[in-house]
């Protein structure tokens, strides 16, 4: 069975640009969460979506937005990129909101 998939694997952007990251959950999983992992730190929660509705938002600015599609895949958008947005962005899926989360390989974003 396929695990959580994310695209692209790597991305290089310049300050002020916009980026879209994509995630496909494990088949049958209805919840998708996004996390940001800055080098040397643990992942920080950004968003959780369940059945296409936002169920939680972490302490991130409004430049960060996300959505979940009818097939439960998800996109994370970041506008007006800053150098500090450089990080590994992880997507996790779970059957329901409070079930165990399984992570994808991540998208490495570098902002120059």
């Amino acid at each position: 069975d396929a695990g959580v998939t994310q695209s692209p694997t790597h991305l290089i952007k310049t300050r002020g640009q916009q980026v879209t990251l994509r995630c496909s959950p494990i088949s049958g999983h209805k919840s998708v969460s996004w996390y940001q992992q800055v080098l040397g730190q643990g992942p920080q929660f950004i968003f959780q979506y369940y059945e296409k509705e936002e169920r939680g938002r972490g302490n991130f600015p409004d430049r960060f937005s996300a959505r979940q599609f009818p097939n439960y895949s998800s996109e994370l958008n970041v506008n007006a990129l800053l150098l500090g947005d450089s990080a590994l962005y992880l997507c996790a899926s779970s059957l329901e909101e409070t079930d165990t989360q399984y992570f994808g390989p991540g998208t490495r974003l570098t902002v120059l």
Binding site: V4, Y35, G58, L90, T98, F103, G104, G106
Partner: protein, 116 residues
């Protein structure tokens, strides 16, 4: 607010030695507890989890962790490590009630390095 403290940022050990990676959390409500492992340039892999029931949980590759409610700890142990266990280990907590339901809170990670 929930918090997770991993008491050691780096743990170097020799192959076949025992190891303990420590994790403490703060929460006033019921929680689920997890250990994830991250190999270089990869995502997180679930190592083991405590949801309910027996306080001692085990993984398929010889790790175990014990939930201690009174000490709010969930330490990870392995009696004999291999070089292939070299990785970053993250402890995580999920709160079961309130506005933060479903999100994971992570510690800063412990880098386990196994030397031959």
């Amino acid at each position: 607010a929930q918090s997770v403290t991993q008491l050691d940022s780096q743990v170097p050990v020799f192959e076949e030695a025992p190891v303990e990676l420590r994790c403490n959390y703060s929460s006033s409500v019921s929680v689920y507890l997890f250990w994830y492992v991250q190999y270089p340039n990869q995502g997180l892999q679930l190592l083991l989890k405590y949801l309910s029931g027996s306080t001692l949980v085990e993984s398929i590759n010889g790790f175990e962790a014990e939930f201690n409610k009174s000490q709010t700890s969930f330490h990870l142990r392995k009696p004999s490590v291999h070089i292939s266990d070299t990785a970053e280990y993250f402890c995580a907590v999920a709160v079961l009630r309130g506005s933060t339901l479903g999100r994971l809170y992570f510690g800063r990670g412990t880098q386990l390095t196994v030397w031959p």
